[in-house]
């Protein structure tokens, strides 16, 4: 018995030590992400040119750092101006969608009659999210809150379904049954036994939903519902300039790189954090 208890203490200690040690890779990813966030938030203040300012001929690769876009505007300046919407909207929308979906999913897994929630989710899951987004855009215009709303509506059914699937085996597992039998009340069980085990899958899911959110914001640009000109975002810049990829490929490549510098660190960090929590 004592040796077992000793091992247990040791294991806890080791777990603490591992939690405290942050790998250089994690620091590097965080640094990249913070740099991109900084550029997105403060870019408009450091941009050498205005977002609508014409500096040269269209698709001129020689001017500025990465040349000009389809209207002869400085691509670098437009990247600095176009970060805010594609960062802020997906962050806010993903956080809200994960929160709402997580609560609904746990409720669905815990309730004996979960059909009401899941059938409602099934209905929303099968309505094409592009159609929902298109109707909202035509109705209200492609404003920031409309984009966020479209993302949330598109994400919740999937987050809920995923959270329910993840929560189901936990809630119906031996130790939750046991906790129930010794008389613990539902909120205690959810907070103490269910949530800690759900953080990992929900974080992994949120990482994916974030990519989906960026995708939807960028898709709006591709479908003609980008920010009103001369405003822009990185996704809209790709669709604006892909036609001139033969003349100035940097006008397409540069905004693509910025999207990737956002999405790849977010997903890798979410995955790392999720694994750390689970240990």
């Amino acid at each position: 018995m004592t040796s077992l208890a000793g091992q247990e203490v040791l294991a806890v200690g080791r777990r603490r030590a591992r939690m405290a040690r942050v790998s250089p890779m994690t620091i590097a990813l965080l640094a990249v992400l913070l740099a991109v966030l900084f550029i997105a938030l403060f870019g408009p203040m450091i941009a050498p040119h205005g977002k609508g300012e014409v500096t040269s001929l269209p698709f001129d690769p020689e001017v500025g750092v990465v040349g000009t876009d389809h209207l002869g505007r400085d691509v670098l300046s437009r990247i600095l101006h176009g970060g805010r919407p594609i960062v802020i909207i997906p962050v806010v929308a993903t956080a809200l969608a994960t929160l709402i979906g997580g609560v609904l999913g746990i409720a669905a897994a815990a309730l004996r009659r979960d059909d009401v929630i899941m059938r409602a989710m099934d209905v929303f899951a099968v309505i094409p999210s592009i159609l929902v987004a298109l109707v909202l855009f035509h109705r209200f215009g492609a404003q920031h809150w409309v984009l966020a709303l479209a993302v949330i509506i598109a994400s919740i059914p999937f987050t809920t379904r995923y959270a329910r699937a993840a929560a189901f085996p936990i809630i119906h597992s031996g130790y939750v049954e046991q906790a129930r039998m010794i008389g613990e009340i539902a909120p205690t069980i959810v907070v103490r036994d269910v949530l800690p085990n759900l953080v990992r899958p929900l974080f992994a899911d949120a990482g994916l939903r974030f990519i989906g959110a960026i995708y939807l914001v960028a898709a709006a640009g591709f479908l003609g519902f980008g920010p009103p000109p001369p405003s822009t975002d990185w996704g809209s810049m790709i669709s604006e300039n892909i036609g001139g990829a033969g003349l100035n490929p940097w006008a397409t490549i540069a905004p693509s790189v910025f999207v990737l510098l956002l999405t790849i660190p977010v997903n890798l960090l979410a995955d790392r954090f999720a694994k750390q929590v689970a240990r």
Partner: protein, 322 residues
Amino acid sequence: MTAGLHNAARYTIWRMASLVATLLAVSAILFAAVEWLPGDPAQQILGIHATPERLDILREQLNLNDSVPERYARWLWSTLQGDLGESVRTNQPVGAIISRPALNTAMLAVTAFAAITTVALLLAAFGGRRDGSRTSTVISVTTLSAVSVPEFIIAGILISVVGLELGWLPAVSLVPSDGTPFSRPEILVLPVVSLSIVGGAYGARLIRAAVADAARRPHVQAARLAGLTESRVLIRHLLPSAIPTTVQVLAFMVPFLVGGAVVVERIFAFPGLGSQLVDRVALRDAPVIEAIGLIQAAAVIIGFQVADAVGFFASPERRTAE
């Protein structure tokens, strides 16, 4: 045994009923959403210079003066009889407008689905059977990076490099007017690759997790200790345990391919259902929008129902639990 059969029959009937109910609910929401689109259909057809009298006559013809529930009921009734109506813009039958785009999208989706399934299963099988091994880590990092790349970026890179720079494959996926995408298969390659990198990596990650979970279970370890070969362990124990997850993950691919491929369709100028939907929403062509929405929704519902049914019959614990 008979109890099991009884259960299965009850389950199937229940599933069919819920399929129909879901489709009905979707149709009502679709109809309401299209109603909610801004603009007056009669005004849009006749233009801004139309006289009020002509507008009134057209409204009467289009039954626009009836209440929304009345018009929904009438639309639902004719749709159930297979009559999708006519475009309010061109007066062509809706079936004639959407049949070609639907076929194009189906061909793109089926090809991409096959590619995604193959990629996902192979990567999951090799990455999941020995969690923590070098192969497993490489696959994990690669797939995680791949799911982080939105498909329009992959499509953009493929168009500029493979399409324009190297000129190996067409950068634009125009379908021949007298044929199908399959009669010019080269136009499908870049769109399918764009969709499969994201979809395959996404599927691989989730299925890999299920395979890795199964690999940690006592009976799999016992099988390994008993000297079963790796491939036998994989086929007999690991992959079957991952079936419910796999079908669930593949079901998620249906909305991704049927409705969500619209940006890829747009980038490659592929004349699919998604592109058609975008154009018709801009025109406020209600009958066409509703038909496309219903088709996409039906495909997704069937995908999820099949996944649920496979998951239900593949896991004995749940079959007896419900």
